[in-house]
Amino acid sequence: METKLDVQNLNAWFHKKQALKNINIKIPEKQVTAIIGPSGCGKSTFVRCINRMHELSPGARVEGSIVMDGLDIYGGIDAMDVRRRIGMVFQKPNPFPNMSVADNVVAGLRLAGGYKNEELDRITDDNLKEVGLWGEVKDELYKSGASLSGGQQQRLCIARALAMKPEVLLMDEPTSALDPLSTAKIEELVKKLKVDNTIVIVTHNVQQAARISDMVAFFYLGELIEFDETRVIFEKPTNQLTERYITGRFG
């Protein structure tokens, strides 16, 4: 398994409070890595460090390095370039309400400029098909992105992230605001997307991690407690904390 993201000695703070403590982890390419742990363990902070969004919070600070394909994303490159290569999907679906469904998909590309309209139309269609939304919205492409249902909005947001052709897709609890049926669709989609994409998904749902991930990282109080193949984590975790968390004895 090739390493896509090599996280080395990563520390993160909010003002004086340390949210991540010396994290070292090698995230494999074209696999689904699930980040689990109780609330406040630093799992969201961790993914927000990967696309350099953590540093935008007031009082936030980051130390350490994250190497992607031999290049340290904290090594003096522009944060905007990092974010174009590492896409992100959030907990709450957040399509742009002033744009149509079609415009939402290509919002990132259109605002970057340099694309012809026919090209954008093709990218819109391709990505809506990719996330399984095409059949549902093909007659409503010009309605507001906010008019779709919650589950559809979330898949629209995934399509919007995929349109940028990211190398890594971060998902921060993408199904926690959705109903079970929409959750199932997104889980299926994640399994399909890993063929071409490296996926890091934060989830508070241990069963979800078991269903869709190849690797699991368990965080507790800002530390990485255990990182291994999903099968190993769920069958024979080496750390007692991990075992207690996945069996639902705390969290």
């Binding site: 959030f90 957040n94 919002a107 990132g108 970057a112 906010a146």
Partner: protein, 283 residues
């Protein structure tokens, strides 16, 4: 035993609120009724299309005053709205909580509270006296009106941008969209309904301001031929005619007042019916 049951108290409070509301809005209805009743007899085609004659003449019109009001409001909006919008954008997206920002915010608040008469005096001193050799000019009137628009539009812009959810900004950040594009093309886009409403309401507000024009644009009986000259306006027309001893002049003042109040009410209704609901979807 309690004097009133809970149910009776409920009904009593509701009736009280309804009665007070009726008392509060009745002056507005009274004003509109009075203006329509007294102003409508002055209305005829001639009234809107001819120049302003001698005050005792019943055949004189308000044509130049209508045109003057729209020209001066237009120029005021032309510079006041963009300046207000950019100030609002700065306050909403860039200012954060710095000392400089709170100074600017306080200044904008205070500017909204400056009496319009003072704005007029300032424009007269600065432009009419210093730059225009004491000649009245519509440009000075527009300048004074524009100064009044800036804080109104700035505040409307800031408020409508602040209610845009932070999730939307994060979505744009995660796509690698630079801040200026996020701000101008996404956040301003979403806030545009509120910004347009604010601009229209500011236009309505200055349509009624008389003091900024009294010593700047002054007055002119004839059709405007340029902007660097004395210019009539509905407001000053009403003010001048109301002071006349002739009944024809008073009647014409009511006629002009009816037009002015319809312009202001019309803008408010347009904003309420067409703009606000349309943009409130999807928040």
């Amino acid at each position: 035993m309690r004097l009133l049951s809970r149910k009776h108290t409920e009904i009593l409070v509701k009736i009280l609120c309804i009665v007070v509301t009726i008392v509060v809005i009745s002056p507005l209805l009274w004003i509109i009724g009075k203006v329509i009743y007294t102003g409508l007899p002055a209305w005829n085609w001639n009234f809107f299309t001819t120049i302003i004659g001698p005050p005792e003449s019943s055949t004189s019109g308000i044509g130049p005053a209508i045109e003057g009001t729209f020209i001066m409001n237009g120029i005021a909006c032309l510079f006041g709205i963009p300046l207000g919008i950019f100030t609002g954008i700065y306050l909403a997206e860039y200012a954060h909580d710095s000392i400089f920002a709170s100074v600017i915010r306080t200044a904008v608040e205070s500017m909204a509270g400056v009496p319009s008469l003072i704005m007029g005096l300032f424009a007269a001193a600065l432009i009419v006296e210093n730059l225009n050799r004491n000649q009245p000019t519509a440009l000075a009137g527009s300048f004074a009106l524009g100064l009044m628009i800036i804080p109104l539009v700035a505040r409307a812009t800031e408020e409508s941008m602040r209610v845009v959810s932070n999730d939307i900004r994060e979505a744009a950040i995660a796509l690698g969209i630079p801040k200026w594009r996020r701000t101008l093309q996404i956040v301003v886009g979403i806030a545009s309904g509120g910004i347009i409403s604010g601009a229209l309401l500011a236009f309505a507000r200055i349509s009624g301001e008389t003091a900024p024009l009294l010593f700047t644009a002054y007055f002119n009986d004839f059709w405007p031929t340029g902007v660097n000259q004395a210019m009539a306006s509905l407001q000053v027309y009403i003010y001048n005619n109301a002071l006349q001893p002739y009944s024809a002049a008073i009647a014409n003042a009511w006629g002009a007042a009816l037009l002015l109040i319809l312009i202001v009410l019309g803008i408010n209704i347009i904003v309420r019916i067409f703009i606000r609901p349309k943009y409130q979807e999807g928040f």
